[in-house]
Symmetry: C2
Subunit: 165 residues, 2 copies
C-alpha cells in the first residue's frame, strides 16, 4: 500500500516490531500529530501519549527545556525542538519521540524568524535529529504541513531504527 498514511505505516511497523513505543512534544501542531498517531485501531499498543507545550512554562516544567534556551535561541529553534523531543522521551517513558515548534502566524514573526518557520526533531536512544522547514500558506496550512512532515519524519526514523536495532 504505497498510499497508506504515515500513521498507518507506523502502525504496521510497530505492531510487527514489538517493544518500541512512541510519543510527541507539540507546540505548533498542538496535539494534531498525537491525534493522527492514535487513528489506527490498536495504536494504544505503542503510543504512550504526548505533551502539548504551547506555553513556555509547559516547555520548561513538563519537558525540561531550560529557560535559557527559551530566551535564546528561543522557543522556535533547532535547540528547543531537540530539547522538547528529549524531554518527552523522559516525561512519557517512550522509546522514540517527535517534536514540533514553529511560527504558525499570522503574528509572531521576527526579523530573523518568518511565519512558516518550523523545527521538527526526533529523539531516540541513539540521539536526536532535527529538520528546519519554512512552510508556505496561512496558519492552517503551516500547521497541516508541520503535522504531515512530523509524521513522515517519525516514520522514516522508525524504519531505520527498527532495521538497526
Amino acid at each position: 500500500m504505497p498510499d497508506a498514511s504515515p500513521e498507518q505505516r507506523i502502525f504496521d511497523l510497530l505492531t510487527t516490531r514489538s517493544g518500541i513505543t512512541i510519543g510527541t512534544a507539540e507546540s505548533i501542531t498542538a496535539g494534531a500529530v498525537a491525534s493522527r498517531l492514535a487513528t489506527p485501531a490498536g495504536a494504544s499498543a505503542y503510543l504512550m501519549g504526548g505533551i502539548v507545550s504551547y506555553a513556555y512554562d509547559v516547555k520548561e516544567n513538563v519537558l525540561g527545556v531550560p529557560r535559557q534556551v527559551l530566551d535564546n535561541p528561543g522557543a522556535v529553534s533547532d535547540e528547543c525542538a531537540r530539547r522538547m523531543a528529549v524531554g518527552a522521551r523522559k516525561a512519557l517513558g517512550a522509546t522514540i519521540t517527535v517534536s514540533t515548534t514553529g511560527i504558525a502566524g499570522p503574528s509572531g514573526a521576527t526579523q530573523r524568524k518568518p511565519v512558516g518557520l518550523v523545527y521538527i526533531a526526533v529523539a531516540s536512544p541513539d540521539g536526536t535529529t532535527c529538520e528546519e522547514h519554512t512552510f508556505a500558506g496561512d496558519r492552517a496550512a503551516v500547521t497541516a504541513a508541520s503535522t504531515e512532515r512530523a509524521l513522515e519524519m517519525l516514520l522514516d526514523y522508525l524504519l531505520h531504527y527498527a532495521k538497526d536495532n
Copy 2:
C-alpha cells in the same frame, strides 16, 4: 455569530476576559481537543497546552491519577476523568482544564463498558464536573463526537465561570 465554533467562542471569551488559562488531558481524543483550541490565531494568550495520556503510565506519572483508580473503577470512568482534569491543572498550571477518556473501539469493550462510552470532565478552582456519554458510530465517529462535546462542555463552563468570577 451563533454558528461560530466552540474554539472560536472560547477565543472571543478569553481574549476579552484576561487571566483565565486553559489546558487539556486527553486519552480518547489524543490531542484533537488541544489542536482545535489552538486553531484561532492568538490562542497562545490563554492555551497553556495539554497532556495526551494514552498509556496508563502517563495518566499516573504525568497527571497523577492513582494506580488504584486505573485498576478500579478503571481508566474509563467518572473518577479517572476527574483525576485527569485535576492533574492537568497542576501539570500545566492552567486555571481550567478539560479531560476525555473512553472506548473508541472497535476493541476494548467489556461486559459493563461498551464501545462509545466516554467520560468528559472539567476541573477549575471551584471543583470538578463530569459527564458520561455513549456515542454511536465507528472509531472515528466516537472520537469526533468526544472532541466536539469536550469543546462545548469547556465553553459552557467558561461562560458560567467568567460570569461568576
